[in-house]
C-alpha cells in the first residue's frame, strides 16, 4: 500500500466495480479494487449475460440505457479482449391480453424514443422460434439485435486492462467497515489492516447495504434470491434470448417464490433457464429444493423439446434491487468521499457507461445534473429501513 493510501478504493469485484476501477485507473487515479471472494463471484457472474434495452424504465434510465448500448459496438476494441459479445436479438413473450396492451403502449413509446422494438403476434413469434410451443405465447415484444456476452470475460477484461494502468486488485479480502471521520470517508478496514482512501466506491451489489450501514447510511436496497438452471450443450433450440412480459405486471414484494421465465442458449449450445425468485433478507447462495422443479415446469411448457434435456446444474445468488426500479448511483451527501453504484435493473448494458460516470464523479468532472434522481439516499417508496 502506498504510504498515503489510495485515491480511491472500490469495494466489489463485479461488473460495476471492475468497470469503475478500470476507468479510475485509466484516468490516473491510484485505485485499489477489493473483493470478498473471487472476481465475478456475486450476481455479476450468475446471470444470463444479456445486454438488454427494451425493458428499460422510461425517462433518464432509458436515455442512459441507449447510450450504454451504443458503447458496446466499440467495447471489445477498446478493451482489446474477446468478451463474447454478439447481437442475437430478444423476445419478451406475452401471455395474456393485459400484457398485450401494456407491451403495445411500451412499444409505441420506445419506438418514438428511437428504440428498434416491435410487437409480434403469436404466429410471427413461432416463425422466429420454431421450438417454442404455439400455446405458450400470444405474441412478443421483439428487439432484433439486443446483445449478449460472457460476463466473466467482461469483468476479466476490465481487471486485466485496469492492471496495465496501475490498478491494484485484492481478492478474498473482506471489507468489514467503511471508516468515516467528521463527515468524511478516511478509508476501509479489512480483517488485516486499515486502508486509507480519499474515495470509497461501494459497488458490492446485495452486500452494499451492510457496508453502507458501517458508514451510518441505510441504502434503499432490497434483495431477491434468484435461481436458475443450465442444460448440457444441445442442438439449436433458441436463436434469441427469451424473456416474459409478465414482469411488467406490478407484483407485490413477497417472500413467496415467484417463477418468471427467461431462457438463453449459449453459443456452445447449453440452454440457461430461469428464474425462480423470492424476496429475502438472507444473503445465501444455496439452490432451494423447490426452485428447480418450478423452473423445469415453466421450461417444458414453453419449450417441450427440453423435456429430455439433461440439466447439469442449478445456481442461486442474491440480487440487489431498489423498490422504485431506478439504480443507486452517485455520492452520499451525508458522507463526503463515499460513492454508491449498485441496484441496477439490467446491469450489463449500463456497465461501461456507469464505470466512466463513476470516474467522472470521483475526479470532480461535470456530470449530467439529472443524475441526482439516482442519489443513493433519496426517498424510495416501498423501502423498509433496517431496524
Amino acid at each position: 500500500m502506498p504510504d498515503r493510501g489510495y485515491d480511491a478504493v472500490v469495494v466489489g469485484g463485479g461488473l460495476i466495480g471492475s468497470a469503475a476501477a478500470y476507468h479510475l485507473a485509466l484516468s490516473g487515479v491510484r485505485t485499489l479494487l477489493l473483493e470478498n471472494g473471487d472476481l465475478a463471484s456475486g450476481a455479476s457472474g450468475a446471470n444470463f449475460g444479456l445486454v438488454q434495452v427494451q425493458d428499460a424504465e422510461f425517462g433518464l434510465s432509458l436515455e442512459l440505457t441507449l447510450k450504454g448500448y451504443q458503447a458496446f459496438s466499440s467495447l471489445q476494441a477498446e478493451l482489446d479482449y474477446d468478451v463474447g459479445y454478439r447481437r442475437a436479438g430478444s423476445l419478451l413473450l406475452i401471455d395474456n391480453d393485459q400484457q398485450w396492451s401494456t407491451v403495445e403502449e411500451r412499444v409505441r413509446r420506445l419506438r418514438s424514443a428511437g428504440v428498434d422494438t416491435q410487437l409480434l403476434d403469436g404466429e410471427e413469434v413461432c416463425r422466429l422460434e420454431p421450438s417454442l410451443s404455439p400455446e405458450s405465447a400470444i405474441g412478443a415484444q421483439y428487439h432484433p439485435d439486443e446483445g449478449e456476452l460472457n460476463p466473466f470475460k467482461l469483468i476479466q477484461a476490465y481487471a486485466l486492462r485496469g492492471r496495465q494502468h496501475g490498478l491494484e486488485i485484492r481478492t478474498h479480502t473482506e471489507v468489514t467497515q467503511v471508516r468515516v471521520r467528521a463527515g468524511r470517508v478516511t478509508g476501509v478496514d479489512t480483517p488485516a489492516e486499515h486502508i486509507l482512501a480519499g474515495w470509497v466506491v461501494l459497488a458490492a451489489g446485495a452486500w452494499a447495504r451492510y457496508l453502507g450501514r458501517t458508514a451510518g447510511v441505510d441504502l434503499p436496497l432490497h434483495w431477491v434470491h434468484g435461481e436458475a438452471l443450465i442444460t448440457e450443450p444441445l442442438g439449436p433450440l433458441a436463436r434469441h434470448s427469451i424473456g416474459s412480459a409478465a414482469f411488467y405486471e406490478a407484483t407485490e414484494e413477497s417472500d413467496q417464490q415467484e417463477v418468471g421465465f427467461c431462457l438463453r442458449q449459449r453459443p456452445e449450445g447449453n440452454v440457461m433457464v430461469g428464474e425462480a425468485a423470492f424476496v429475502t433478507d438472507a444473503l445465501g447462495r444455496g439452490v432451494t429444493a423447490n426452485a428447480l422443479p418450478a423452473i423445469a415446469r415453466q421450461a417444458q411448457r414453453r419449450f417441450p423439446a427440453l423435456r429430455q434435456a439433461a440439466v447439469i446444474r442449478g445456481w442461486a445468488i442474491p440480487v440487489a434491487f431498489v423498490p422504485d426500479n431506478r439504480p443507486l448511483l452517485g455520492p452520499v451527501p451525508e458522507v463526503e468521499g463515499l460513492l454508491v453504484a449498485t441496484g441496477l435493473k439490467s446491469t450489463i448494458v449500463l456497465t461501461p457507461l456507469f464505470g466512466a460516470l463513476i470516474a467522472d464523479m470521483v475526479l470532480g468532472r461535470e456530470v449530467d445534473p439529472r443524475l441526482a434522481e439516482f442519489s443513493p439516499t433519496r426517498a424510495v417508496a416501498g423501502f423498509a429501513p433496517l431496524a
Binding site: 472476481l39 470475460k153 486485466l160 486488485i169 429444493a289 428447480l292 423435456r307 429430455q308 446444474r313 442449478g314
Partner: protein, 467 residues
C-alpha cells in the same frame, strides 16, 4: 410422488447394503437407492444373469444382497440422488435431523423422500490423472477396465499397459492375463514398498487379501510380466486411438516407446463428497489421501445432525471398512431415532473397524499419489474434458490473477461441464497449488450444485406428469 421414511440410504455398495441390512434387522423403515439396476456397488458388482452371473465376491456379500432384496428394505434400483436438502428452518435447532432427498429413477420411483435420518454411502470414483494423450480412445481407468474384463467378459484391448499405483493394478493384471490379454508393462509410480515390512502387524490376519495378492503375483510371473517401480506413462500417441505409450522413470531421466492398444490408469480413488457437501456438512482436506473428506464423529455422523457418511465416500478404506462402517452408521441412525442399540454390537463393530482401517492406512501410506504426476502436464494437455480446456489455458488464467478453483472455472469454464469438475477440479487444484506455491487446501474446490448428476429436465419435477 413424495414419501416419508425414518432412514434413507444412498448407494448400494458394501457400506449402503450393510447400513440397510442393519437397519432392517432393527426394524427401522429404510429406503435404499442406487443409480445401478443391481445392488452391489463397485466392490460387489453383479453381472446380469444373461452374462453368466457373478461368482460370490466374499463371504459377506450373499447375506447383504439377500437382505437388500428381501422384504425389510424399500429398494430403489436405477435411481440417482441429485439433491439433498436439510429441511428449511431446521438449520440450527434440529434435534434429530430431517432431510429432503431428491431422486430420479424409473417410473413409480418417488421423486422426493423426506427422511428423518440419512446415510450417504456414495463410494468413490477413479482419480483422473491427465497427461499428454490421455483423452485418446484406448486410455481408460483401471476401474473401467476391471468392470469390462470381470463383469462384461470383454477385453479392453490386446496389448495393454497398466500405469498407476497400488494393489488394484495386480488384481487387474491377473484378470487381464486370465482373459488372454498381453501385458506390455505394469508401471507403479511409487518405489517398491520395502517399508511395508514395518507394517507387518497390520497385514497379519488379512489372509484373503494376501491370498489374492499371491495369486496375482503368480499369474504375473507365469506371464513374465514384472512391475516397473517408480515408472510412469509420459505420453500416449496414435492416430485416432492409442498406438504407442512413452514410458519412463518418474524422474524423467529416460523414455522408451511401447507399442500398445490400451492404457489402464490406476492412481487410486477420490471420495464422492458431492451430496455431503451440498447438504452443508463440514469437510476437511486429508493430505494423505489428497482429497476432501467429511468430518464425522464416532457414530460416523457428520456435522449435520442425523446425516451420516459410511464407506469410501468418507475416505478410501476398501470394502471391509465400508461394510463395517455401514452397519455402524445404521446403529448411529437408530440411536438418533431413539431406538435401543446393543453396546456389544457397537463395540465389536468398532474393534473390527480399527483393524481394517489400520490395513487401509498402510496401503495409503505405501502407495500415495505421486508428486511426479504434475511433471507430465504440458501446455496443450487437456485438463477439463467436458469443456475442452487445456493446461495452458489454466496457467494463463493463473497468470492473469486467478487464485482459486472457482476463479479458474469462471475465466476458463474448466469444471462447468456435465461432470461438475469431478474429472478436472482436483487437477486444477493441484496445478494452482504448484504454480502459486500454496498448499492444495488454500485454493478451494469445486462447488457441488444440484442436480449433482445430470437429470432430464422433466425428472426434476416432483410429480411425474403425463407419460
Amino acid at each position: 410422488m413424495s414419501e416419508s421414511i425414518e432412514l434413507a440410504v444412498v448407494g448400494a455398495g458394501p457400506a449402503g447394503m450393510a447400513a440397510a441390512a442393519q437397519a432392517a434387522e432393527l426394524g427401522l423403515p429404510v429406503a435404499l437407492a442406487d443409480a445401478f439396476s443391481l445392488p452391489g456397488g463397485q466392490y460387489y458388482k453383479q453381472t446380469p444373469p444373461a452374462l453368466g452371473g457373478t461368482p460370490t465376491p466374499d463371504e459377506y456379500a450373499p447375506a447383504l444382497l439377500a437382505a437388500v432384496q428381501g422384504g425389510g428394505v424399500r429398494w430403489l434400483p436405477g435411481t440417482s440422488a441429485w439433491g439433498l436438502f436439510p429441511e428449511s428452518g431446521s438449520q440450527q435447532d434440529q434435534a434429530d435431523g430431517s432431510y429432503l432427498l431428491c431422486l430420479y429413477g424409473p417410473p413409480g420411483t418417488p421423486r422426493r423422500i423426506k427422511a428423518r435420518t440419512v446415510i450417504l454411502a456414495p463410494g468413490a470414483y477413479d482419480r483422473p490423472v491427465p497427461f499428454p494423450g490421455w483423452t485418446l480412445p484406448g486410455v481408460m481407468t483401471a476401474g473401467a477396465a476391471l468392470t469390462m474384463v470381470k463383469h462384461q467378459h470383454v477385453l479392453p484391448g490386446q496389448r495393454i499397459l497398466l500405469s498407476g499405483t497400488g494393489p488394484l493394478q495386480l488384481v487387474l493384471a491377473r484378470h487381464l492375463l486370465e482373459a488372454g490379454a498381453e501385458l506390455a508393462a505394469i508401471l507403479d509410480a511409487n518405489p517398491f514398498p520395502w517399508r511395508g515390512w514395518r507394517d507387518a502387524t497390520a497385514v497379519w490376519g488379512q489372509w484373503a487379501r494376501l491370498r489374492e495378492g499371491w495369486d496375482s503375483l503368480r499369474a504375473m510371473a507365469q506371464a513374465r510380466a514384472g512391475i516397473r517401480w517408480s515408472h510412469l506413462v509420459w505420453r500416449a500417441e496414435g492416430d485416432g486411438r492409442v498406438e504407442r505409450a512413452v514410458v519412463g522413470p518418474s524422474d524423467g531421466s529416460s523414455h522408451e516407446a511401447l507399442a500398445v492398444d490400451t492404457i489402464c490408469l490406476g492412481h487410486g480413488f477420490t471420495p464422492a463428497v458431492q451430496l455431503s457437501r451440498l447438504a452443508g456438512c463440514e469437510h476437511r482436506y486429508d493430505t494423505d489421501q489428497r482429497a476432501y473428506i467429511p468430518v464425522r464423529d464416532q457414530w460416523l455422523q457428520t456435522t449435520r445432525p442425523g446425516l451420516f457418511v459410511a464407506g469410501d465416500g468418507a475416505g478410501i478404506g476398501g470394502k471391509d471398512v465400508a461394510r463395517l462402517e455401514g452397519a455402524l452408521a445404521a446403529l448411529g441412525a437408530a440411536r438418533t431415532l431413539g431406538r435401543a442399540v446393543a453396546p456389544e454390537r457397537v463395540a465389536s463393530l468398532q474393534q473390527a473397524l480399527d483393524r481394517q482401517r489400520r490395513f487401509a492406512g498402510v496401503l495409503t501410506d505405501l502407495f500415495p499419489l505421486s508428486a511426479h504426476l504434475a511433471d507430465l502436464l504440458t501446455d496443450d494437455t487437456l485438463l477439463c474434458r467436458c469443456e475442452e480446456i487445456t493446461v495452458g489455458q489454466v496457467r494463463q488464467a493463473i497468470a492473469d490473477g486467478a487464485t482459486t478453483v472457482s476463479a479458474v472455472r469462471m475465466v476458463t469454464r474448466a469444471g462447468m461441464g456435465r461432470c461438475q469438475g469431478r474429472m478436472c477440479a482436483s487437477s486444477v487444484a493441484e496445478l494452482l497449488a504448484r504454480e502459486l506455491g500454496q498448499p492444495v487446501e488454500a485454493v478451494g474446490q469445486a462447488t457441488p450444485r444440484p442436480p449433482i448428476v445430470p437429470v432430464p429436465l422433466e425428472g426434476l419435477i416432483d410429480e411425474e406428469e403425463g407419460a
